[in-house]
Structures are given as C-alpha cells and as structure tokens.
C-alpha cells in the first residue's frame, strides 16, 4: 500500500514508545520506512516550561528506544524538532522528511488540559496535508503464529 511507504510517527514520551511500536506492529510488513518525530514544545519569547536540555536528553533516549524497536524490520530514523505548535511541527516535519502518511497513537487528555494547551490529536486530524492514521492498541505478537491484521484499522483509536 503506497500510502504507508514512509510513515511519520510522533512519539510523545517514554510510555508512548512501546505503545506506538506495538500499535504499528501489524502494519510493518507494508511500511518501508518510519521516521519517529518528537516535538519539544517551546514558548517563543517566553521562558519554556521545562529545561530544554532535559527535554532534549529525554527525547534522545526514547527516540533511540523507538528506533531500535523497529530496526531490522523497516528503515527507521528519528527527528527532534522544536516549536510552539506541536501539531503544526509534526505536519511540517513529516512533509520535510518526505513522509507519505502520519501515524500516531492518540493520547487522551483531560478537559482542562485541552482547554489550556489545545488538543494535538484534534488539530492533527483536522484538515491534514497528509493522510493521517490513528492507530488502535495493536496486537502484541507473542509468537509467530499470532494472527496479524492486514489492513489499517482506521476507525480504532
């Protein structure tokens, strides 16, 4: 499926690595290349909410973990980018690396947080430039015999 040739995958944090990799697993046979993207949210002109050095070190760690989980199965690469608008930066970076689609695990956020920080999921899927694949929980493949989904489950979130 050509739309999955090069998939940009936003990774938000440590926990997201395993969840996203698992969710991505059923489609890996159809994917050629994955670029893991982490956006470090900045506040242009204002003091950032967390020390950037810490954010960068964390991002390097979990992107490396993500890369090594996929390594050997698909071509994998990672990017750390900085920007005020997470959804916009994901879309921009996906475009920059020549991705054919964006795939991600939607992470729920509370109403208050959504109000204050905007909901990345909502903005990512609204009027996207690239096809956006919202990943379900995926299937943990314990053995080779476990059944594998062939088609992306676009509805599952």
């Amino acid at each position: 499926m050509v739309v999955l040739r090069h998939v940009a995958v936003p990774i938000a944090n440590d926990d997201d690595v395993a969840e996203t990799a698992t969710a991505l697993d059923p489609y890996l046979d159809e994917i050629h290349r994955v670029t893991g993207i982490h956006v470090i949210e900045t506040r242009p002109g204002a003091v950032n909410k967390a020390p950037l050095e810490k954010r960068r070190a964390d991002a390097e760690r979990f992107l490396a973990a993500f890369e090594s989980r996929l390594a050997g199965r698909v071509g994998a690469d990672t990017r750390i980018v900085f920007g005020a608008d997470i959804a916009e930066m994901i879309a921009e970076t996906a475009d920059e690396v020549g991705a054919t689609a964006i795939a991600f695990r939607s992470r729920g956020s509370g109403r208050l947080a959504r109000l204050l920080s905007g909901n990345t999921t909502a903005r990512l899927v609204t009027d996207p430039d690239l096809p956006v694949l919202s990943l379900g929980e995926g299937q943990r493949r314990l053995g080779e015999s476990a059944p594998r989904r062939k088609r992306p489950d676009v509805e599952g979130t």
């Binding site: 938000a12 944090n13 440590d14 926990d15 997201d16 470090i40 949210e41 900045t42 506040r43 242009p44 002109g45 204002a46 003091v47 950032n48 909410k49 967390a50 020390p51 950037l52 050095e53 810490k54 954010r55 960068r56 964390d58 760690r61 490396a64 973990a65 890369e67 090594s68 390594a71 990017r79 750390i80 980018v81 900085f82 920007g83 005020a84 992470r107 956020s109 208050l112 947080a113 204050l116 920080s117 905007g118």
Partner: protein, 746 residues
Amino acid sequence: MGDEELAKDLGLLSALTIGIGTMIGAGIFVLPGVAASTAGPVVVVSFVIGGSIAMVNALSVSELGTAMPKAGGGYYYVNRALGPLFGSIAGLGDWMGLAFASAFYSIGFGQYLTTLLPIPGVLFLSDIQVGALIAGVVFVGVNYIGAKETGGLQTVIVTVLLVILALFAIQGWLSFDLGTLLSDGGLAPLGYGAILPGTALIFVSFLGYAKIATVAEELKNPGRNLPLAVIGSVAIVTVVYAVLVSIMLGVVPWPDLSQTAPLTQATQVAFPGGLAVVAVTIVTLGALLATASSANASILASARINFAMGRDRIVTNWLNQIHPSYATPYRSIVLTGGMIVVFIALLGQDIEVLAKAASVLHLVVYALMNAALIVFRETDPEYDPAFRVPLYPLTPILGMVLSVGLLAFVGQRELLLSAAFVVAALVWYFVYARRRTDRQGLLGRYILNRQEKLPSSVVDAAATVAPDGAGVTPPTTMVALSNPRTEHSLVGLAAALAKDDGGRLLATHVVQVPDQTSLAAAAEQRKRLSETSDQLLADARADAEELGVPIETRTILSHEGLAEVFEAARSSEVDRLVMGHRGTRLAGGRAEGRLDELIHDLPCDVLVLDERGFDPSEILLPTAGGHSSELSAEVARALQATVGADVSVLHVADDPTAGREFLEDWVADHELDKAELLVETGDVETAIGNEATGRTLVVVGATERGLLSRIVGGSLTLSVLDDLDTAVLLAERPHTRPLRERLLGR
C-alpha cells in the same frame, strides 16, 4: 536532529521583560508602606542603595552568564568554581530563596485581592493568607499544567504595568507636596541609621535580574543580550522605584501609608473624585498582575535550579522527571509549590519575614557567585566570558563585601534563619550529596594540584570536603555486547553487579572486522556499522538507566574480537568483565591464535553468560571451594542484595556430614547467610544436573585455571552444563592479579 538554534528564542526585549516583570511586583506594589514605616522618607535612599548593590552583582552575573549560558544560573557557577560543598549551599539557597520570594509575592497578591473581594479568614489564617494560598496554588497549578504562554504575554504585562505606573506617576506628581513628604519629622525621622535596615527589607524587590541568568540557555545571542537585559533591568527598575516611592511619599505622609496596599491608597488620594474609583481598580488589577508574574517567573526559575542540581546529583534527579502529558518538570514544581504553601501558612502573617528570608538566601548566593567569578578568572584557562566586569578584581570583591555586609542589617531572626539554613545545606552535602556527586570544583582541584606550594592546612581542608567521587573512579563493570538478542540479559546482569558495589557500567560494542578489510575502509563503512552499534548501545543505555546505574558506552572496531575486549578492559582499568558466549564464540567473535596466551592472562574478573538468558530468581551455586568460587560467591551475594535472588549452595562430598560442615564454613566465610545448603553424594555432574532443574541460573566458578579456555577451545567436558535448560554463568578470577591490587579494588 532538530535545529537547536530554534529553541533559543528569547530576544533582548523578552529577557528584559523577564527581569523587569519579576522585580517590579514587589518594590512598588507591596513594600513601600512597610519600608516607609521602618525608615521614613529616606527609604528612597534605601531603594537606591539596594539598586546599587544589585547592580554590582548584576555585573558579575552578566560575566558568569555569558561565559556559561546554562540552566541553573548562580548555582551552576558556584558549583563549577567552588565545588559541590558551596554548590549545595548556593543551589539550596537559591531554591529556598525563590520559594520564600514566591510566598512573599503571593502574600502581596493576597493583600491586593482582599481589597477587591471580601475573603474570609480560615482557622489561624488571615484573609490575606487565604488569598495568598489561593494565588499560590493557582500559580503552581498553571506551571504544573504548563499553560500555553508566548513572549507577547509577558511583554504585554510589563508594558501595561509600566503604563499604569507612568499614569500614576504623572497624576501623583500633580498632587505631590513636599510638605507632605517632610511633614512628620523631616527626611529622616528615624535617623539615617534606618537607611540600611530599610535596604535589607526592600532588597527582595531586586531579586529578578538573576532569573534571566537561570534561563540563559534559552537566550538568543547571550553574549550581548544577557548583560544588556540583566544590567538594563536593574537600572530601569531602580529608577522606577526611586521615582515612584518618592511620589507616593509626597502624596500620602509616610506614617499613614498603607502597610498592605500602598499604591491603591496613594492612587485614591492622588486621583480626583470620580476618576479615583476607576484608577484604584486599574492599579489593583496591575498589582495582581505584577505579583502574579513575579511568582510565576520564580517558580519557573526554581525548576531550572532543581534541574541543574539534579544533573550534578546534589539532589535526586527523580525530581526532574518530565510529566508525560504536560511536559513540565511537575515533581519539582509540586515540591517547590508545597514549600510556598507552607511558608505562606506559617510565616505569612508577617510579610517582613518572607521578604528578608528571600533576600538573605539570595545574598548568600550572590556572595558565593562573586567568589566563583574570581576563581574562574584565576584558575580556569578556558574561561572566556563575552562580557567582563569592569575594574576586576574590585567589582567582584565589592559585590561580596556588599552582599555579606547587607546581611548585618536584616535583623537577628533572619540572620539566625540563614545560619541555620547554611548548616542544613552543609549537613545535606555531607550526608547526601557528597557520596553521589563526582564534580569537584575548580578551586578544590587547584588547591590539591598545588599541594607543595600551599600551606598544608589549606590542602587538608580541600581534601576533607572534596566529593567522594572526585579523583577516585568508581568500580567499573564492563559489558561486552555483540548481539541485540543477548544485550538485555548481559546488561541486566552487569547492572545488578554494578549496583551492588555502587559502580558504573561501561558498555562496549566490539565490531569485529574481517582481516582482509583495512580498518580505514571499515571506518568508511562506519555509518552502517554505527547504526547497528548506536542501537545496541542505546538499548544498553536505556536498560541501565531503568536499573538506575550510570553507564558509558563505546564502540570498538577491531580485527581481533576477544583480544580487543581484553585490551579495552585493561586500559579502562575495569574491575570485572561481563560477556556472552555461544558455542565456542566469546563476545561475539572467535578468538583465534593467541587464545591460550589470552585466556591465561585475564585482565580482571571475567563472567561469561550463555545465551539462555538472565533470570536470577533461583540461583544454584555449586562449589568445591577454591579460588574462583570466591568470585561466584561474590556474584551470588550481589544478586541476592540487588535483585533478591534465592541462592542455593551445592556441595558434592563422599561423606554428607563432612560435606555439610565444609559448606557451613564456606557459606560463613563468604557471607552468604541466607543461602539454602544442599549436600549431595555421588557424581558431581549428575548432582548439578538434578539440582539445576527448576532453577533459573547456575553460577559456576572456574575450579582450576582454564575453564574459559576450555569453552572457547571447544573442549568443555562439563557436558552437563550444555544439556541443562538452565542458564549458566561462568566466573573466573585471574590468578596473577596481585593481592595488593585486589585489596585496593583497582
């Protein structure tokens, strides 16, 4: 990787507004009434002196900040220059100082809030304290969630504040009356001796400039913008304070000036009738905005200081964990927030205590910072600040003298508090931080490197307070990785051992290059190789971090696998080497040629795990005594201590009673007290085979020299070990290692 420059987006205006926004809240809106009542109209001079002291320190902060634009500000410089003992004082002082300052700003917020809304007092808390607590919790909550904020906002806030203050200044000037200013006892009704105590009280109004340095890593062009913002904000704020406080005191006589909401009162008097209501509301809203922005900036700055301290292990790095959804350093914010709440509740009755406590702690930090500047200039050849203080060394010496000198005027209670704090910070260093941090200060190194030339008392003192980690490398466990499949097991084993002796890990990936490929050609393929290597080592790093063991990683390109592993172990002076074996391959490569020579000259303790994985829950430890069983006992003991392994010790003897005696002695000698004792008779291999069933790991010490050589030579006759389902860990300790070296734990 992304563009790091993108992350530096604080320009000069933003930096300037951070400084002004943090400072302006206190001096104008909160303190004039209290300060005027302690000094009379000359309190204006107190503000000017405070501004001058701040300016001398601002020069030093600017130099240090341009030399090291790093998160953490004052703490960072002091720790670098004077070492972790003073670093602990500076870091904890800066942190507590910010918490006190935030509590102070919150009380200021509460004071103005209660003029707008009726707030009830609760229990022992006054209405102002309740308002302050609400404010404090909101400020902390906003930083916990990390609400969106742009530079525009801070600039708008500061601009609005300056406009409000300018309007007040103009209208106030029109109703200014020199008679009012001098009405009650002239300029200095309480004597000129009240000026400096006044300065000590209002110095909290100048604490904002150093915040710019705590976020120096985020500044665009810090070499230019940092000094301009730091010095500029102090200059602007000093002028604003002097002018506005003079006007206020010419509008309302000093004994009558409100202790809680002075600017509202002065506005009410200065503005005519109908306009007064609107003006008072605007000023009150301005006061809320000003105190809120001061508190906000302080809470943000405190998280930066925690981060810098955590990185140096002066506090636990646990504090600096980033929230998975909000991406904020939430633990640090909650802890700081908790302190703010406690300070408001316990000390909020008297705003003077909070103000002075904040000032005292910052003054201690400033004094240390000036000392740090001198140490950098004198001892660090690589120190190259873009901005240099004028009149060195006069300026930093003056900064030190003024900072310490001002302490004399804060009053006994606050002085005692600061002494208690310094003692607490010292205790913290010696009890907690000293064992963990390994960063020695420039000063300590300078002194210890010049032992002959300096008086021995100085050298002794430097050696006494040096961190335990400095100079002495912690024990190192090297793990040789070759295969992603076994990485997890090997790092798990190595990390458990390293954790037991408080040491660190050195993970190496030895890439064995075929002989026909030149190393230069191999280096060209480096990209491909390094991808594999990076992954493997990144996994190792992730595993080690999860287990809480410090780790270093290294990739080695080589023609001779095992020899190179041993060579690396030798040159890095590691204490033990962990590697995997599969069939006759060790550490992923076939050791050829020099095998015997190699195996008979082990660089350190060697542990070889087979590929059946590492699960230390049920360990079988067969022993017949002897040299290498010391090592297997050590390993079992470490696994008992770190991962709670159940250890069973097996001895095969002809006579069960003698066997049990031997085993009891052996276990006691090796301090394996919680082990289960198994004594069997008959064939050794059968006994091991039987007992291994159902257990997860068999640890075998090499009985006589050469167990390892028999594996790699393919002549291992302990075939039982190959037939087991249980994983086998072989342990061999070099014979040749001199006792002295072993005692010193090389």
